[in-house]
Amino acid sequence: MDWQALILSLQLAGVTLLVLLPPGLWLGRWLARTRFAGKSLVEALVVLPLVLPPTVLGYYLLVSLGGASPLGRWAAQALDLQLSFNFLGLVVASVIFNVPFIVQPVQRAFEAIPRELTEAAAVSGLGFWQTWRRGELPLAWPGILSAMVLTFVHTMGEFGVVLMVGGSIPGETKTIAISIYDRVQAFDFAAADRMALLLLSLSLAAVTVSFFASARLATRR
């Protein structure tokens, strides 16, 4: 068992979720509430990481974040930061490829809140944050919860993008999914087995818990 890789994956998933949640909530809610001309294009861009091959996504991220790219050069000069082949690069990539996993469930959750309810809150004198805390957040919570779980679990398991952008540097970019691949390449099936099973159980447990929680919330209505 490559514990270092497991801890790295957990850290990556946690940081990704933390970074992505606030803008994801905002974007999902905005898409649920607003009608505008280019909405379909924005929605398509949100879904794009879901349909692109991870290697294609990883390739473009590498090209645009790498040391030779304008963005990479600027980060290195102005901020003294490297955006590829390190943990920070993984976080940036991971945030981007998880956009659909957080935005879509959040958008559906907010779309399901009847407009009347937020209007009733406004007429009752509730301001934006009061409406958010007393109405929107609890009502959208099942969707937000499943978005968080999906994002976390998906980050834990992502392989292609991570390999393209991060390589396989132990303790820096070698996540558990890459460690499994590494073990298989070395014909160490016993270690690959343990890690694969761990990832499988973890994912199954997380998704089951989120479904169970959503169902319970739904019946409480």
Partner: protein
């Protein structure tokens, strides 16, 4: 405290009209679905900003597009009961009613919410339940309690009785009548049920296609609708066609020739009705009669205001019977009336009876430009 409203809008949906409603009065906006009633309510609540308009309550101006004034719903103190109640499904009845009381400390908030829920007669056990565990009538009461907890300057109700069964409806009518007496604020009710409007409201505003067509006390509108559309909208069944013949010679009275659709027989009845000097000689007109103006007699006609008619339909509906009678002099012309009491027991389709029209109650309307 007077509520004064003026709206003039072409986009995104046409909406225009003006009305006022004083404290303790109940104004009913009536009309078919899509008439703009709910939009009007949304303008009052601040959920919709009209293109041009003005809303004033007492000396507070809530909206004045000419001066760029628009007070958001949070600062209007409006009690709004939504058509489908719009209760928060994840909150108990008590927590729902606490929402407009968030400015109070928690203990006082709950105490006040309980007081309002008790006011609409919800038991302590019901107060702890979520909306899904309450009946339609109970949810309705929670919605009313939440609106009242806002301590509104104006109470707005959007089709409040549409989803409530007949038995609960009677209770809610009483509740509304009590509120009107106790609160002494303007109350605006949106409904498509004319009986409801006539029973509860002291002022009716008839709307169609975004326009206010006519307004006044319910009885006045029933007696004298401005045009055929209003007559249809307020459910006047006895609407006929005719031609204005001119003054009858007797002061204040004129002659009306009763016509059926397209038929021009020689024996058209001539009626002597009130002349308000609004109609040109020879003009085609619509005219209406409320069912109060119809009397059924079981003898042959003996006066100019009495007509022989055959019963074509007699539909018993519990305590009353709905009757349709076809006029012998004007085949195809049907009079409708409701009958109660012993007379209805022996009236059957096929019988010829006499209908007496109270011609003093005939209301004549010009047919508009066609």
């Amino acid at each position: 405290m007077m509520l004064q409203v003026e709206v003039e809008q072409a986009q995104p949906l046409p909406l225009s009209g003006a009305f006022r409603c004083d404290s303790g009065e109940l104004l009913a906006l009536v009309g078919p679905s899509g008439a703009g009633k709910t939009s009007m309510l949304r303008v009052l609540a601040g959920l919709m900003r009209p293109q041009h308009g003005r809303v004033q309550v007492g000396d507070e101006v809530w909206c004045d597009t000419a001066r760029g004034v628009f007070v958001p719903p949070q600062r209007r103190h409006v009690g709004l009961v939504f058509q489908h109640y719009a209760l928060m499904p994840h909150l108990s009845a008590l927590d729902n009613v606490s929402l407009p009381l968030l400015h109070l400390p928690p203990a006082e908030r709950r105490q006040q919410a309980r007081r309002w829920l008790a006011h609409v007669r919800l038991s302590d056990a019901q107060q702890e339940r979520r909306p899904a565990a309450l009946s339609g009538g109970e949810q309705q009461r929670v919605a009313v309690a939440r609106a009242l907890a806002r301590e509104p300057r104006v109470l707005l109700l959007d089709e409040p009785f549409s989803a409530v069964d007949q038995m609960n409806r009677q209770g809610l009518y009483r509740l509304l009548a009590d509120l009107r007496r106790d609160l002494s604020i303007p109350i605006v009710l949106v409904t498509h049920d004319l009986h409801e409007a006539a029973m509860l409201a002291n002022w009716l505003v008839v709307m169609d296609a975004g326009q206010v067509l006519q307004q006044g006390p319910p009885a006045a509108i029933h007696r004298a609708p401005r045009n055929a559309r209003v007559a249809d909208l307020v459910g006047i069944q006895n609407r006929f066609q005719g031609r204005w013949v001119g003054p009858s010679g007797q002061d204040g009275w004129g002659l009306l020739q009763w016509q059926a659709d397209g038929t021009h027989t020689a024996t058209l009845p001539l009626l002597t009705v009130r002349d308000k000097r609004r109609i040109d000689v020879g003009q085609d007109v619509h005219w209406v009669l409320t069912s109060d103006a119809l009397t059924l007699l079981e003898r042959p006609p003996g006066a100019p205001d009495e007509f022989a008619a055959v019963v074509t339909e007699a539909r018993p509906l519990g305590e009353i019977t709905l009757l349709a009678l076809e006029l012998e002099a004007l085949p195809g012309t049907v009079l409708r009336l409701t009958l109660s009491g012993p007379q209805r027991l022996h009236i059957e389709p096929g019988r010829t009876l006499t209908v007496r029209l109270d011609l003093g109650l005939v209301h004549v309307m010009p047919v508009r430009g066609r």
